[in-house]
Symmetry: C2
Subunit: 238 residues, 2 copies
């Protein structure tokens, strides 16, 4: 048995039962917040300020900040843009600070801050992330943002993928049922990820609003080595 | 698409996000409370009084009731017996009322009482349960008792098995990610359930206390048609 344990938490509402102050906490919200945040760093954003409420986001907007804000996938009228990774293009984000509020992702980031380090994880940076976690020699806790505190499959599959990569280093182990379930579901899905995603609830939600164009992109692996990390309440490059 | 939806809730702590007053709620705690409760009815128990705290259980004991009470798999000293289905033998339970308090199961039963009907589900009565749910023509919500509010695999596999059975009636459907994940995990495990159970955390907990002798029994299907139902706060035969 290894020294460092891997656990997966399927919902922010379950976080109190998994909390681990020694762990590196990876927050993931594959469709679409964590994929969008990683994309923003790829495209040169300087800093992302995650805020919980739309009121906070609006207050930042009035102070002149560029604001990304959505609820249930819909861009809010006062915001500069929403939650699609495609919105975080170099011309918009390069060198800028962006305030970001989303349905599920921001709350998860705030919760996770009780851990020893908070990282943002997506397929886009998964190998860099696994490498960093392994070299950090700490427990790993993956926090799935879920959907309004409900379990979702897309974050679970990512948790399985990341767990599997980190477990390749034999100093890591898991006896967490949620991690074991996530790994099994990832193994089942990974041969035909887009086929598997057909049944996922969030795909239907996005399709209804014509926002499902990003699903393929959000499942591309290793487009970057950048890892967003939470520092003094803001996300910056690790 | 069918008329009646199936949803699965992986933890009592997530129940507020799944609550459905129109639904039949099936509470399951395969290792071991729901399997023990079904066994008690098979062996002629008259009524089971689920209580949340050990204090309540002790108070009933002092009033002369027979009490089953455990925490973390260990029988409490004041109790007549614990949580093993083997404890609920005919000579002990036939014609009796039993007060029952367990780590995870009792709390789940109390939560579920906001539904239109609360049933206790186990492999032991799974086909009878599926038949009753189908004929009840209502939504189905399966509440996994979990482990101290954490996700567990054994309850999830049962939720997948029951969902699959009920979905054979085309008036039922699911778009719930937790139900879909449970079905996939059940499909994966069901060819070699005892092999799959090797990795489940609860198996290790039970083995540590020499309590894992019941795992095979708790996964036997259709030993009875009896379905325990919650009525005025007590479990009785449907």
């Amino acid at each position: 048995m290894g020294k460092y344990k891997i656990e997966v938490c399927y919902s922010p509402a379950l976080f109190p039962f998994y909390e681990n102050r020694e762990a590196v906490v990876v927050v993931t919200d594959i469709l679409r917040a964590s994929s969008a945040i990683v994309t923003a760093f790829m495209n040169g954003v300087e800093r992302i300020i995650p805020v919980g409420t739309l009121e906070e986001a609006r207050a930042y907007k009035e102070k002149g900040y560029m604001v990304a804000a959505e609820r249930d996938g819909i861009v809010r009228d006062f915001a500069d843009f929403g939650n699609s990774p495609y919105n975080f293009s170099p011309d918009r984000v390069h060198g800028n600070q962006i305030v970001y509020s989303t349905t599920n992702g921001t709350n998860a980031i705030h919760l996770a801050s009780s851990g020893s380090q908070v990282l943002i994880g997506a397929y886009l940076n998964i190998s860099a992330l696994a490498g960093h976690i392994i070299s950090s020699e700490k427990d790993l806790l993956i926090l799935c943002a879920g959907w309004k505190n409900r379990f979702n499959l897309e974050d679970t599959l990512f948790a399985g993928a990341l767990s599997r990569m980190v477990l390749e280093d034999e100093r890591f182990y898991t006896i967490c049922d949620a991690a074991l379930g996530a790994i099994d579901l990832y193994d089942l899905a990974q041969g035909d990820m887009m086929g598997y995603m057909e049944k996922v609830a969030q795909r239907h939600r996005l399709r209804k609003n014509n926002l499902d164009d990003v699903i393929g992109y959000c499942h591309e692996s290793d487009l970057t080595d950048l890892i967003p990390v939470l520092k003094d309440g803001h996300l910056v490059r690790l």
